[in-house]
Each structure stands twice: as C-alpha cells, then as structure tokens.
C-alpha cells in the first residue's frame, strides 16, 4: 500500500493536480469569454504566446517559469492590442484581424525556436503545443514523509505558477463579479453606469494570457483553447443563470481533467495498452462533455427539444380530433366514421391520434357505429372548443379582427394552456354556443 501511495505521489499526483488546476483556471476565465462572444480571443492568445515564451527563454537562458510568464503575458496583451488596432485602424473584419495577428505571431515563435541558440535546454514547438504534463514528476528527498516541508519544497515549480494563475483568476472574478455580470450582458449599460468595460476587458485579456502560459506546460497552448471554451460552452447549454453558469463551467472543467487523467494513464495500463497524451485526453473528454450537453441538456439539448416538440405535436393532434368530434356532435353526427375526419391531418397521423385517444379512454371506436366520445373525452373536447370560441370572441371584441379572419388564429391559440377571461356573451362571433366550463350545455 505504501509502495502504491509512493508511486502515486511520485508519478500521478503532480500531473493530476497540474491538469486539474489548468482546467479549473481556464474554465473559469473561458466562461467569461464565451459569454462575451470572445472565445476566439482565447484561441488567438494561446497561439501567439509562443514568441513571448521563446523570447523570455532566450533572454533568461533558463526554463524559468516566471520569465516565461512575463513574456507570455506581454505577447498576449500585444495580441489583444494589435488585433484591436488592425480592426479599428485598418478596418479589417474582426475574425481576419485576429487570424492575421496570431498566425504571424505564431510563425515568429516557430522561427525563433528554430533559430534560437537554446544550448542544451529542451524546448520545442510540440511541447509548447501539446504540453508535457506526464513529465512532471515529484522527486522527493529520501526518507522524508511526503507532507514534510522539505518534501513539499521539491514540488515542481510549475504547480506554484499554476496556483498563482488560478488564485489571480479567482480573485478577479470574485472582486469584479458584479461588474463582470453587467459587462458580459450589456457593455453599453455598464459604460453608462460608469463601469469601464474596456478596463474589465483588458484585465480579462491579461488573465487569459497568464492562464494560458501557466497552463501551457501542463496542457499545451493549443489545448488551452479547448479548456477555455468547451466546458463553458457545455455549461451555457445547462443553465441560464450567471453564477450557476460559471460554477458549472468550472465543475465541467474539473470533470474533464479527472476523466482525461484517468483515461490517459490508468485506463490504458489496465487494458495493457500504452499510455496516451494526457492533455489531448483532457481536451477530448471536455469535447465529449460538450457533446453530451448539446444532445441531452434538459432545456437546451437537442434530444429533449425534439421530444418536447413531438409531445406538443401529438397533444395538438389529439385535441384537434376531440374538437372535431365535438363539433360534429353539435351538428347531430353523434358517431362519425373516421373518414369524416380526413380533412384534419394526414391519414397516418389521424390513425395514431385515434389509437392514442382510444387507449386513453377518451373515445370509443366501433367498426359499425363509428367514433363516440366517452364522458371523459367529451369533457376535454368541450374544454378545447370552449377555448377556441373564447379566443374567437376575444379576437373580434378586443383585438378588433373581423369574424371571418379569426378561425385560423384561434385554431392555434386553443392549444395554449391560457385562455381569455370568459365573456358575458354565450355565443362566439359566428353565433355558435360557447360550451360552459362546468360541462353543462348552455341553456339556449
């Protein structure tokens, strides 16, 4: 057991924590980017921090995380500033302005990597892009307990950088929570209230740059995009409230980190397969979460929306059949054949509506005598027809439409759950009696 714990602490703990912190930081800031429709600024910044990182590297001549942090923050702010400049002064379309700036920055970074005299320091473009989360080991001093101060001091410095990044992001969001909420939904209102939208915007850009570089050793700069956007996009589909949205985005980011970590290392080794890139696995996991949210989110998911649309369509069909039977019974046709309802809808839909109503015991089907409403069906039918005729009355009396134009509108409105207040009149604009709510036929 101790051996297992030891192995976990040495090999797994730091990659797990690094992935988790990176995902939480990115998901927190990303939720603000997505809401402000600036997701692609995250894309641009995470590409264009490359020259900043390499420049810091060349100047400091070490792989000093703090130097790289500064270099990347400068590059990130430059990207945001230059994009705005190209867009406003050059009047280039926003997407193209962004693409121009970041692709040139990235090219510069790749070139600097190729040309730089980096000595024996290992830094190549692919580690910047894909991350090297698996190489973060925790080599503790011999004999010391893992929680002893001298052991904790040997934790990789990247974790400290990441923790600073996370702390500043959390601080930013808590301090400016109210401002962020207003700015995210209505920047002009915020400006008119004396809040500087551009200040909040600038701060967000700086923090995204810091988060990008703090995370780049863990998940790589390209995968930062996935972590910035995918959890937030999934959260966007799950909730409509600002606070819940930010928290769900963070929770989804953390979930992606855990799932990704597990499926990159532990799962393949259980199946006797080689381990795969953990950062990529985290990004893929966040994509799967987004896919699940897009399909199944209760309110905004595709499947629930299709189901609820279908439920409404069947209810409308059922009510139409009931109402038609009620109207026929008014004209003395007490047990019509199904063929008499054929003008209502396509035969297949009519058949299934009749079958459903029969199963619900709203009507009785008899091959000889035709369709008859049961007591329960009659009550429902009466309520639909009552709504229809009340709406017609409303549309003529209150909305001022002419009587020959109201039927089609009322045909739709009758399926709503609401209805206009009942009138003193007993008949609709066409002179037909409005059935009583209590079920009694109106006395003529």
């Amino acid at each position: 057991m101790t051996g297992g714990l030891d192995q976990f602490l040495t090999l797994d703990l730091v990659p797990l924590l690094a992935g988790l912190i990176a995902c939480v930081t990115c998901a927190l800031l990303g939720s603000l980017l997505v809401l402000r429709r600036m997701s692609l600024m995250g894309d641009a910044i995470s590409h264009s921090v490359l020259p900043g990182i390499v420049a810091a590297f060349m100047i400091a001549q070490t792989r000093d995380p703090f130097a790289m942090l500064i270099g990347a923050a400068i590059a990130g702010v430059l990207t945001a500033g230059l994009t705005t400049l190209v867009r406003s002064i050059g009047r280039v379309e926003p997407g193209a302005a962004m693409g121009t700036v970041f692709s040139v920055f990235f090219a510069l970074g790749v070139l600097m990597l190729e040309r730089a005299e980096l000595g024996n320091i290992e830094l190549d473009a692919s580690c910047v892009l894909h991350g090297q989360i698996e190489t973060l080991f925790w080599i503790r001093p011999e004999g010391a307990a893992w929680h002893a101060p001298e052991s904790l001091a040997t934790l990789p410095r990247q974790l400290l950088i990441q923790a600073i990044g996370l702390a500043s992001a959390v601080l930013f969001v808590t301090l400016f929570y109210k401002e962020l909420r207003i700015v995210s939904f209505d920047a002009q209102l915020a400006t008119s209230q004396g809040l500087s939208a551009s200040f909040v915007h600038g701060m967000l850009m700086v923090l995204v740059a810091i988060a990008t570089v703090a995370s780049f050793e863990a998940v790589g700069s390209i995968l930062v995009i996935a972590m910035l956007i995918a959890p937030a996009a999934a959260a966007r589909l799950l909730t409509d409230r600002f606070g819940t949205y930010i928290l769900s985005s963070v929770a989804l980011g953390a979930t992606a980190a855990l799932v990704g970590h597990f499926s990159a290392g532990a799962l393949p080794s259980m199946l006797d397969l080689p381990a795969v890139n953990q950062a990529g696995a985290i990004a893929t996991a966040s994509g799967l979460l987004l896919a699940v949210a897009a399909l199944l989110a209760p309110r905004h998911g595709v499947v629930p929306r299709i189901l609820s649309r279908r439920a409404i369509a069947t209810r409308v069909d059922d009510e139409d059949v009931l109402a038609a039977l009620y109207r026929l019974s008014e004209t003395g046709e007490s047990a019509p054949k199904p063929e008499m309802l054929q003008t209502l809808m396509a035969p297949a839909r009519l058949d299934s509506a009749i079958a459903r109503l029969n199963a619900q015991r709203n009507l009785a089907r008899n091959a000889e005598s035709g369709l008859t409403l049961t007591e329960q069906g009659l009550e429902q039918a009466r309520s639909v027809v009552r709504k229809h005729r009340l709406w017609e009355t409303y549309l003529v009396d209150t909305a001022g439409l002419s009587p020959d134009h109201v039927h089609d509108t009322a045909e739709k409105l009758e399926h709503l759950r609401i209805q206009p207040a009942s009138t003193s009149t007993q008949t609709d604009p066409h002179g037909r009696p409005i059935p009583d709510a209590s079920g009694q036929k109106p006395t003529a």
């Binding site: 997505v34 429709r37 600036m38 997701s39 692609l40 995250g42 894309d43 190209v86 050059g90 009047r91 280039v92 379309e93 997407g95 193209a96 302005a97 962004m98 693409g99 121009t100 692709s103 040139v104 990235f106 090219a107 510069l108 790749v110 070139l111 190729e114 040309r115 473009a125 692919s126 892009l129 894909h130 390209i222 995968l223 930062v224 995009i225 996935a226 972590m227 910035l228 956007i229 995918a230 937030a232 996009a233 966007r236 589909l237 990159a264 080689p274 381990a275 795969v276 890139n277 950062a279 990529g280 696995a281 985290i282 990004a283 893929t284 966040s286 994509g287 987004l290 897009a294 595709v302």
Partner: protein, 430 residues
C-alpha cells in the same frame, strides 16, 4: 547563415530541380490561397477555415494508423491528406450543427471544435508514436510545415489542388461574390446558396490540404487570411482585390520558399507567413487608399479645413461687428476652445490661412483678413445661415437645435444646393 547567392538562385529557379519545383508549388499555392481567401474573407468564414485546418489532425493520425496496419507506408501524402480532409470536413459540419441546433454562438462553436479536434489529434498522435516502428515525423511536418522534405510528387499534388481551386474560383466567381455580399439577394435570384457555400468550403478544404505540407496546419490559415486582408487596403473593388490578393499570396510563397531554400536553417512555413505579414504591415501603413497613413492625412486635412473655415467665419463676423480691425488673439482663443482644437491645430490653422492668402500678419493682434479672406469668410457665414434656414423650413428641426447640426454640414454644401437655398431664402424674405 543566409547566403544571398543561394536566395537569388532559388528566386531564379536555378537552385536545382527539387528547389524549383517546391518554389513553383508554393508560389502557385500562395496565389490560389489568395484568391480563395478573398471569398473566405468576404463571406466571413476566416476562422471556420482555422478550425478546419486544426481539425485535420485526428484524420491524419487515423489515416496513418490505418495505412500502417494495412501494411502500407504511413507517410504517403495522398493517404494522410485524404484522412485530414475527411476529419476537417467533419469538424466544419460539427460547427454548423452546433450553431444551428444549439444556442451556442459561432465563436464558441468554432473554438470548441478547434480545440477538441486538435486534442483528439494529439491523443492519436501519441498512439502513433507509441507503436513499434511508428514514427510521427511525417505527421510533424504537416503540423509545422516543411518544404525541405517535399518530394516533386508532393509538390505536384499541391500544384493540382491549387489549380483546381483557382478554376473553381473563376467559374463560380460571380456567385461566390454575390452570395458573400448579399445572401438574401442571392436567394431571391433562385441561386442555391447552400451549394455555393459548399463549393466555397470545398475550395477552403483543397487549399488547406495543399498548404499542410508547406506551412503546416496551424499556419495554413495565414495563407487564406493575410493576402486578401492586405489587398483590401489597396482597393475597394472585388474585381481588383482578387488579382492583388493572388499577387500578394504568390509573392509570399515565392520569396518565403526561396529564402528557406537558401540552405540556412530556416523552415519555409514561418518564413512564408512572416513575408506575408510584412506585406500586410507595409500595406496597413502605406497603402494609398485605405492605409493608415493615407487615411490619417486625409482626416487631418479635413479637420484643418474645418478649423480654417471656423476661424475665417468668426473673423469675418468680428469684422462686421467691430469694423475692419486686426483680429485679436483672444478671438482665436475662443474659437479654439469652442471647437475643442488640439494644441497643434492653432498654429497649423493660422499658418494655413496665411499660406492660402486669406490673412496677413498684423502689427497688433494676431492677423488681418485679406480681401480674399473676407470674401471667403462671408461666404461661409452665408452658407451657415442658408443651411440653418433649410433645416428649420425643410427638415423640421427646431431653431434652437439647428446651430449644432449646421456646424457639421456647412462645410460640405455644394454649389447647386447653395443656389437653391438662396432662392428659397429670398422667397421667404419677400
């Protein structure tokens, strides 16, 4: 280091067969991407193209895995490009699905697809590398671009795709432009906008795939975006934007691969992008029509003209009130503060007026009006009155609000309108 001689050799196609083929390939690719990029930019699909190129990675890796498991060479470029094309298209379709069927905005859809597909690609890439004998060197070239390892056959493939996309652009040019500018109009003309969009997407896919080998999947977007954005500074017409963009793209491809072929340790992809970026910066600053310098000079001239006219107008009104006295500096002060001049506008306006002969220096005070200046000032003053009259009588603006609007318009009245307003004013005076 870079040798000038080898660059010249490469530029003149004297650097050997391979170098010449590669240079020709990237030049044509640059031109083709420039042309396709114009439509991409106009249709505002630039960043969809970025997502597409990132989304090729998982397909490339899967193609590699399938090819090697079938015992074929995983480095065959057509096989890798086929896989990349398929997953790139899948990525674009996912973006469209997310936009159409969920509440996500386009930017979130593009960003998620880009990041997640690339992440899946990285996972598959690590699978490729962990396989015995699996060496992802060929795939790495497609990420960062490498013309050095390009064979004449690869360059030929690139040429064919570039030619295909140019042909489609020329054949469908009109439809692509119209549906980019006014989708609704294109629909009312009965054009299948969906199919036209699909054609554009096909072009972008072809260019992306052709560009993978040269500049790599992360930077291929630069080929599509930068040349048209550069051309945009030189012209406002699509007809001239297309050839300009092609020329900028071709120049970048040509110069970039020539510099890279010079033997120095310079990868072609970044060089091509940086040459393209330099052309962009030069045009952003120096283009005669829409360049920043030209636009600032035009704006400065206009503001100077307004300042001069305001000063002349106030001076001539001052003269009418106090007789032909030299204009005191305090009047200039009050005009400057009323119009919110920057500190440098005052000396500029005074010297511009003197230069044009409207004023001459006076012994006391700041300056005196010349006859020409007096006449011009009176005319501006008259325009002001005319326009105020027009606004109150014709545009239903309350007299108390007129002055504000007049200040903006009085400088731009044309002669015909002035004549008409004068007739109006005389009629109403009678």
């Amino acid at each position: 280091m870079i040798h000038a001689g080898t660059i010249v050799d490469a530029l003149l196609f004297r650097g050997g067969f391979n170098t010449s083929v590669v240079t020709a390939g990237t030049t044509l690719l640059g031109a083709a991407a420039g042309i396709t990029g114009v439509f991409t930019l106009l249709r505002k699909r630039s960043l969809v193209a970025d997502a597409l190129s990132h989304a090729t990675l998982p397909g490339i890796a899967i193609a590699f895995l399938i090819a090697t498991s079938l015992g074929l060479s995983g480095r065959s470029l057509p096989v890798l490009l086929l896989g990349g094309g398929l997953s790139g298209v899948l990525g674009v379709l996912t973006i469209q699905w997310l936009r159409r069927h969920t509440r996500l905005q386009e930017d979130a859809a593009i960003g998620s697809v880009l990041g997640v597909f690339f992440g899946a690609g990285v996972v598959l890439l690590s699978v490729v590398q962990s396989r015995p004998g699996g060496n992802a060197a060929g795939i790495d070239n497609l990420i960062y671009g490498s013309t050095a390892t390009m064979s004449p056959a690869d360059a030929g493939l690139m040429l064919i795709m570039a030619i295909a996309s140019v042909t489609v652009s020329i054949v469908l040019g009109k439809e692509l432009v119209v549906s980019a500018f006014n989708e609704g109009f294109a629909r009312t003309q009965g054009w299948p906008v969906g199919w036209i969009d699909l054609a554009l997407m096909t072009l972008i896919v072809l260019i992306t795939l052709a560009g993978l080998q040269a500049v790599g999947l992360i930077m291929v977007i630069a080929l599509l975006i930068i040349p048209p954005a550069t051309a945009r500074f030189w012209t406002n017409r699509v007809r001239s934007m297309l050839p300009l963009s092609a020329v900028f793209g071709a120049t970048a491809g040509y110069t970039g691969s020539a510099i890279s072929a010079s033997g120095a340790d310079l990868p072609a992809g970044p060089i091509i992008v940086l040459v393209s970026g330099s052309l962009f910066v030069v045009s952003l600053l120096g283009a005669p029509r829409n360049g920043v310098i030209a636009v600032s000079i035009r704006r400065l001239r206009l503001r100077l003209r307004f300042a001069c006219e305001h000063l002349l107008e106030s001076s001539s009104e001052y003269e009418r009130a106090y007789g032909a006295a030299p204009i005191p500096a305090s009047l200039i002060d009050s005009v400057a503060s009323a119009r919110g001049w920057a500190f440098w506008m005052r000396p500029l306006a005074i010297s511009a007026l003197a230069h044009r002969g409207y004023t001459k220096p006076a012994a006391s005070g700041a300056f005196e009006l010349t006859d020409a200046g007096r006449a011009r000032g009176a005319r501006i003053s008259r325009n002001h009155t005319l326009w105020a009259h027009y606004l109150t009588t014709h545009a239903d603006i309350a007299p108390s609000h007129v002055d504000w609007a007049v200040d903006e318009v009085e400088h731009v009245l044309d002669a015909e309108l002035i004549a008409q307003l004068e007739r109006d004013l005389e009629e109403s005076a009678q």
